[in-house]
């Protein structure tokens, strides 16, 4: 990616992030919030907006939203108010979205980016976190001349996280998004996957002369579907704005769509009917009243967040800060690591295996860590076998590969494949004799005192034993077997 080097102007970025909450049912009805059902089957009178149907709020959605807000250091209001955002769109069944407007769930949070990248920390303000419902899905390219509507997703609970315009580069925006994703994933609030649509980003960007205090006119970039696309879109749009300003033009406030294939933003073709959403308090829902004590309890029950976990891993397992950082990039990996480290009493080995073998195998299999065949207890057992010299390092890797395929425990794999370290003299002697017999010239030179051939011959024995021979023992036995039967 080409970084934008611009001396005169600086980029000002604020982000709006929509995150789907991890609930079983929708925000305002008891329909399943799962993806993948046939079109319009997870629907009911409420989310179809049939005449007369009414919304009832999901308690768990509130709890997850509060958890997210607290994890982002926000002040959660004891009273917040749902509002209707009115606009027509065929996948918005009621003709309004139930959202929150002037009395949102939570406000005034922050997070700090840059610490991980060893840069100057930047504190990014979180303006607000509010709850709302998702719309359905419009499929434009399935049938000729018509748009196909699927309302399975309509009414799924979301939070919208609005940042202050505190970011000054696309890299900072990227760092902010990665951190949000990390925090919300740790807090157990969401799956936060852009690919699966459980995290969506709209970026507001403007350009201003360096040193200026007033914000320039911003545009809103939509249709970005990965973090790197957000960064590229911001750079591209910033470049466009700067060119416009430098040529004496003005930026007009509008929505831009990111065209990833062309690598450019272009104005949204939707008619700019002045967006007048006619917000007003949702009369079907009384104000949301949350008890201060309950809010505090939800806060206390938030699972450990990445920052705290990094520090603890260094303290508790005596691993290096860079290792801790790598491990905590995902909640799942750090939890997996801890389970392995505790059961094996070998934190260093656990770091190496989790970040190496496990990470590679999970990526290759394309599965979630919790669906991964090798459970932490089994990996810990393998590490113990290594430590106790029951298997060689080579054998351990082969055993692990079989565990990934079969999900069997390491002891069983080792037995089935004959991969336990063999230190029984007669077996080793047999392999050594065979190697000596099969390689008569090397054997002769070795016997003649060419001791540097020791390594080659041991290697051949190891190979013959498929890695199960105990190399130490082979080294001991080799000279004596080469001399001939005693």
């Amino acid at each position: 990616m080409t970084a934008v080097t611009e001396r005169e102007y600086e980029m000002v970025v604020g982000l709006e992030v929509h995150v789907q909450l991890k609930t079983r049912t929708k925000a305002f009805c008891s329909c399943s919030a799962d993806f993948g059902a046939p079109p319009n089957t997870n629907v009911c009178p409420v989310c179809l907006a049939l005449p007369g149907a009414l919304p009832v709020l999901n308690h768990h959605a509130v709890e997850l939203a509060v958890r997210a807000a607290i994890a982002l250091e926000c002040k959660v209001h004891e009273t917040s108010v749902f509002a209707r955002k009115n606009y027509f769109y065929p996948d918005l069944p009621k003709g309004y979205q139930i959202s929150q407007y002037d009395k949102p769930l939570a406000e005034k949070g922050w997070l700090t980016i840059g610490e991980l990248e060893n840069k100057t920390p930047v504190r990014v303000g979180i303006t607000r976190v509010h709850m709302e419902e998702d719309a359905g899905k419009s499929v434009h390219d399935r049938y000729n001349g018509v748009t196909a509507i699927d309302l399975n997703r309509a009414g799924v609970p979301l939070i919208e996280i609005v940042s202050e315009p505190d970011m000054r580069s696309s890299a900072e925006a990227g760092a902010y998004l990665r951190l949000i994703k990390q925090i919300l994933s740790y807090a157990g609030v969401s799956d936060v996957s852009m690919e699966e649509g459980s995290l969506r980003v709209d970026a507001n960007v403007s350009a201003r002369l360096r040193g200026a205090t007033k914000l320039g006119t911003k545009t809103e970039i939509k249709n970005v579907n990965s973090f790197s696309a957000v960064e590229r879109a911001l750079d591209s749009e910033f470049t466009r704005q700067v060119a416009l300003l430098k040529s004496g033009g003005t930026v007009s406030q509008q929505t831009m769509l990111w065209d990833g294939a062309r690598g450019e933003t272009r104005p949204s073709r939707s008619k700019e009917e002045s967006h007048d959403y006619r917000y007003f308090p949702e009369p079907d829902l009384p104000p949301l009243a949350l008890d201060a004590e309950w809010i505090a309890r939800v806060g206390r029950e938030i699972p450990e967040l990445p920052d705290a976990r990094r520090k603890r891993l260094v303290d508790e397992y005596k691993i290096t800060p860079p290792d801790a950082e790598l491990l905590t990039s995902s909640a799942g990996f750090s939890e997996y690591f801890e389970a392995v480290a505790r059961a094996s009493l070998d934190p260093k080995g656990a770091v190496n295996w989790v970040m190496g073998e496990v990470s590679a195998a999970v990526n290759a299999a394309g599965v979630h860590l919790d669906e991964f065949a090798v459970r932490p207890a089994d990996l810990a057992e393998l590490l113990r076998m290594l430590r106790d010299d029951v298997v060689s390092h080579t054998a351990a890797k082969r055993i692990f590969a079989r565990m990934v395929e079969t999900g069997k425990p390491p002891v069983q794999v080792a037995a089935e494949e004959g991969l336990q370290k063999v230190d029984d003299d007669s077996a080793l002697a047999g392999w050594i004799d065979e190697v000596l017999a099969e390689n008569p010239s090397e054997a002769a030179r070795y016997r003649a005192g060419e001791t540097k051939l020791q390594g080659v011959l041991v290697g051949l024995v190891m190979k013959k034993s498929k890695g199960s021979a105990d190399p130490k023992k082979v080294n001991q036995l080799l000279p004596e077997r080469a001399r001939g039967p005693s």
């Binding site: 009911c44 007369g52 709020l57 009115n86 003709g95």
Partner: protein, 502 residues
């Protein structure tokens, strides 16, 4: 099935005209058959000319379905669980209440032929108590109107005087009760749409406390004002209907978790010591003298029963109509956005793609009054006007509600007022929109404050029924019914409710 069904027995016809309790008792004892009650109801409809060419009371009827559910009730007789409090009672529903197996049109073209795939909570409760749904009644389109002239299916006429309107928007339900087709009907209220037609037709109409009755399945007009209400021939009938449909509903976030009292227990309660407030703002100088006179007679009756009548004031009353006609259209403009031709109901295609479809569907689907109110509501919510209209109206609404709280806190048990400023007017007589809105001048305040209120027949002006309104504090339905039972009893000698046409 075109053959003329057999005329119901005279016994069933007599039961249909009598108190609900008698009908239910006879059915429980097996002395009457639910299917005969259905026949009696349809026979009566024929007899009074309920059809499109005369009173035009129903948008749809379902004789077959009603007969079928009546037969199921009969099959239930003798089983362990007793039949409910409305066993075998024919009931009519306003056509904005979602009903399985019958169309739910809201009196609008945009929902012509729409059959709801789910059922309103109030209808489930009615059916669970043995009620038999005979038809869906005519109404002002989306309940916007005070005369039932704004229906896409033509106006309903007042059974008392066919040249006159039955009031609205629950005009069909009021007319069905007044004409003796059913003893009980459900209507809905946003600003007086049950009480005002009850008054015009000479029947009892009840609007419960906001939150007392589930709105789930009631097609929304003004969500913060809407309540399902009951129209009945007598206070007792209405009280039984209210008991059945009341109670907390997990499907309605605004329904209140407050126990439902047995309203019938108020039937013989005395009125001694009851303090009745007479708010001066509801008795203005220009009040129709015939109405003023009947109200004074009712107040005298109260005094004779041992109640005290006290002059009180609700100073913000005059702002009710302006406040109502900002808040209700604002909410309606949003509530009616779902009628977009996408998922159900009318769809009119246009050359202008999706937006053309929206605009043409809604232009053809909505009648003039609905269009006017949606535009009005959109305007008062739009950028730049929200504070001046909607926000201001909400603030004044708070003051109106405070008036009620103050007056009830001062020791007043219920308020008594006229229900309407005039008796039923002739079809077409009120042409100006705002003049029509003034029909709700005495009723809208109770919706704005969320308090329960009901209209009880108290007399007539040259044969045209006049209703008196009783307003009670939040969840004060019991004392409201006590006052209504007392008044009905006191006036029984010189005025027979619902018998003006006899």
């Amino acid at each position: 099935m075109k053959a003329q069904p057999a005329r119901a027995s005279a016994a069933a016809a007599k039961l249909l005209a009598g108190p609900l309790t008698e009908c239910v008792a006879c059915i429980r004892e097996g002395a009457a058959i639910p299917a005969d009650m259905v026949s009696a109801s349809f026979d009566r409809a024929d007899e009074v000319g309920a059809g499109k060419d005369a009173l035009n009371i129903f948008i749809s009827t379902d004789r077959e379905g009603a007969t079928e559910s009546a037969k199921q009730l009969t099959a239930h007789l003798g089983r362990a669980e007793p039949l409910g409090n409305l066993a075998g009672v024919p009931v009519a529903l306003k056509d904005n209440i979602a009903t399985l197996g019958m169309p739910t049109t809201c009196g609008s073209r945009i929902l012509e032929g729409y059959v709801s795939p789910y059922e309103a909570t109030v209808v489930r409760r009615l059916r669970a108590n043995g009620a038999v749904i005979v038809g869906k009644t005519n109404m002002d389109e989306f309940a916007m109107g005070s005369s039932t002239e704004n229906s896409a299916y033509g106006p309903t006429r007042n059974p008392v005087d066919i040249r006159r309107v039955p009031g609205g928007s629950s005009g069909g339900s009021a007319a069905a009760v007044a004409a003796g087709i059913v003893r009980l009907a459900l209507g809905s209220e946003t600003g007086g749409s049950v009480r005002q037609p009850a008054s015009f037709c000479g029947v009892v109409g009840v609007k419960p406390t906001y939150g007392r009755v589930s709105r789930y399945g009631l097609v929304a007009f003004g969500s913060s004002l809407d309540q399902v209400g009951v129209l009945g021939r007598t206070v007792e009938d209405a009280s039984i209907g209210m008991e059945v449909i009341s109670g907390c509903d997990p499907l309605d976030s605004t329904s209140a978790d407050v126990p439902v009292p047995r309203y019938e227990l108020e039937k013989n309660a005395g009125l001694k010591g009851l303090v009745i407030g007479k708010p001066r703002e509801y008795f203005p100088d220009g009040l129709d003298p015939r109405i003023a006179q009947e109200c004074e007679r009712a107040l005298d009756a109260y005094r004779e029963l041992g109640a005290t009548v006290r002059d009180v004031s609700l100073p913000h009353t005059s702002y009710s109509i302006p406040v109502y006609y900002i808040i209700a259209p604002a909410e309606a403009s949003s509530n009616l956005a779902r009628f977009d031709g996408v998922r159900y109901g009318l769809r009119v295609l246009s050359e202008r793609g999706l937006n053309g479809m929206y605009e043409e569907t809604r232009a053809r689907g909505f009648g003039p009054e609905v269009t006017r109110r949606v535009l009005l509501g959109t305007y008062v919510l739009s950028a730049g006007y929200y504070d001046a209209y909607y926000k201001k109206a909400q603030a004044v609404r708070t003051l109106i509600a405070q008036d009620f709280r103050d007056v009830f806190a001062s020791g007043v048990d219920v308020l008594f007022t006229p229900t309407t400023p005039t008796p039923a007017f002739e079809l077409g007589a009120v042409k100006d929109a705002y003049e029509m809105y003034l029909s709700d001048i005495f009723t809208a305040s109770a919706n704005l404050a969320g308090v329960p209120a009901m209209s009880v027949p108290i007399g007539d002006a040259a044969g045209l029924p006049i209703g008196g309104q009783i307003i009670a504090p939040h969840f004060g339905e019991s004392v409201m019914f006590r006052a209504a039972f007392g008044l009905e009893r006191a006036l029984a000698g010189n005025f027979v409710p619902g018998e003006q046409d006899a």
